[in-house]
Subunit: 341 residues, 2 copies
């Protein structure tokens, strides 16, 4: 919401028109019995002050539509499910309804949905994505409603973005494996172009460094987010570093691949090598051999956080920048260490 639009209230319109607030409201809502001259005076005042159409819209029905838009800008992803659940939790079942739009990584489609949402007079918009890297702000122009970016990050520092704390998540993995007495660490992760990949590595490496444990570059393998790469990268690691005793993987698919290669190379997990994944993707983690210990980003909590911040913005509060929500560790069997808080 731009400052200008926010500044102009019905009180100001009424004052400028020299009428009561109730009369101004009736005029703007096109309700009640008013003389044409009065009505026109109110509209003139509204125009002069730049009392904008969306504000008019809000004023029509209790000033709000009690709807918000959830705009997934990337193609649909399972990440959206817990985000949506969290959003619903925080918005209060049924009190604020959620329009869901899937932009499918198509900027034209995204603009189209944005217009649709605005024409439906949503009270606010949550933008979700599948990457934590900065992206251009929605529409590229000031919008008449507040926007929160969730698991998505606006490049405009004036916008508000809520993200998982990937760096702290990387720390959790390191601390868990260190606590189990591991000393020879490796990391198999996604493409280095992902901010999440770099952040997780940063936290992982920092926690190891604090414990005096090195992580040379050759023990960090970047590649696609796929099981095959998890298998291949782990095989390469084992060839060059046969006494590796801890592998942190950037997601659970990579960890599944790592577990398979470790088992097939004769390593026992967690006795010989501890493995920690990232995402805590239920069926993958539970079906793994052994069941996979994994960092959980609490996406549902992230959805709730985004919704609470959006409601706060809708209330008129101002907030911008970046909010990082902590991750937690879901301890199963593969790490071999005790639970880390």
């Amino acid at each position: 919401m731009s400052d200008e639009q926010r500044a102009v209230t019905i009180t100001e319109v009424a004052a400028r028109a020299g009428v009561s607030i109730s009369t101004a409201s009736k005029a703007l809502n096109r309700r009640g019995q008013l003389r044409n001259e009065t009505r026109e005076r109110v509209f003139a005042a509204a125009n002069e002050l730049g009392y904008q159409p969306n504000a008019l819209a809000r004023s029509l029905v209790q000033r709000r539509s009690y709807t918000v838009g959830l705009l997934s800008t990337e193609s649909a992803d399972r990440f959206n499910i817990p985000l949506h659940l969290g959003l619903e939790n925080a918005l209060g079942a049924g009190r604020v309804a959620v329009f869901l739009c899937d932009g499918r990584a198509d900027p034209e489609r995204e603009r189209f949905y944005l217009e649709s949402l605005l024409s439906r007079r949503v009270d606010g918009i949550v933008v979700t994505g599948v990457r934590t890297d900065a992206r251009p702000p929605l529409a590229g122009v000031p919008l008449p409603v507040p926007v929160v970016y969730a698991y998505s990050r606006s490049s405009d520092p004036g916008d508000l973005s809520v993200l998982p704390d990937d760096e702290q998540g990387g720390r959790l993995a390191a601390e868990h494996l260190l606590a189990a007495g591991r000393r020879t660490f490796a990391h198999v992760t996604g493409p280095p172009e992902y901010a999440a990949v770099r952040d997780r590595l940063t936290g992982f490496r920092a926690a190891l460094a604090e414990a005096g444990v090195p992580l040379p570059d050759e023990r960090v393998r970047f590649g696609p987010w796929r099981e095959e790469f998890g298998r291949a990268a782990t095989a390469e690691l084992l060839a060059g570093l046969p006494d590796v005793d801890a592998v942190f993987c950037g997601n659970d698919l990579l960890a599944r691949g790592a577990l398979d290669t470790l088992r097939e190379s004769g390593r026992r997990v967690p006795e010989d090598v501890g493995v920690v994944g990232f995402d805590n993707w239920g069926v993958l983690a539970e079906g793994a051999r052994p069941p996979l210990t994994s960092v959980d980003m609490d996406l549902q909590g992230l959805g709730e956080l985004a919704a609470r911040r959006l409601l706060s913005l809708i209330e008129g509060n101002r907030e911008s920048g970046l909010v990082r929500q902590p991750c937690r560790l879901e301890v199963r069997d593969s790490g071999g260490g005790p639970a880390v808080r």
Copy 2:
């Protein structure tokens, strides 16, 4: 948006009906003064050309809220993502907006959302679930708006439900494995309380019977939808039926377990044993060793179908009962047979 939908424009409808575009628009929008004969000619042309939902959606301006509710009655499931995408495709990006509500298998929450949707005057509701078994109709009383059940089935025969054709999907699996020359079949599947489990087995068994291939009951293993069960059931099967050369699994998680056990028992897939899964869950099927051939329910298509039927009901057409949409086979490596249409 499918090619079909994209192909047919109001210009073509007008040409086919032998009227001006303006007249065609009036007819389809139910506006203006037109002779009944003209109006009917336009509708006939629209039907012949398959001028479907998007156009109809546009035609309903001013008599509708242009919103529909998507009410997931079970707890959130990845099945909902393609269903939602299909719904969006058929509703026309932005023209009809979708309220998404997650009932989380809680009847009280479901009722609450239903009331919320009705108070927002949605034009119709799509109910989705995670089971194809009959469920009580929404609310249990006649509703003021049309409802379509998608991947969910109303026990009221007066309701309209659209489901994947699980029986035909089971047939596809059998035909694919038979075409590869398999003769000793087994089936590892989910709990028999699921209609989908029984339907897939029925189709699978029927296609085998037609080929003169038996499937005795002891070669059918029912259990939880989990990888562990896929592994354990396959190990049991191998113990009793060492020359099994074809395993059809009721979902991809079970198939992943079956592939692991087969490989670890020294069987080559597909050379010694062919395996077919069900769901065509991308990351699981692609990451499998070998990549998994799997029956695809085309959930996005199912969402489109549900949306088209809902728009038809909103138009005032009456339709009830059960629509079964065919499955298709995604052929990768594990089946070893040629593609089945």
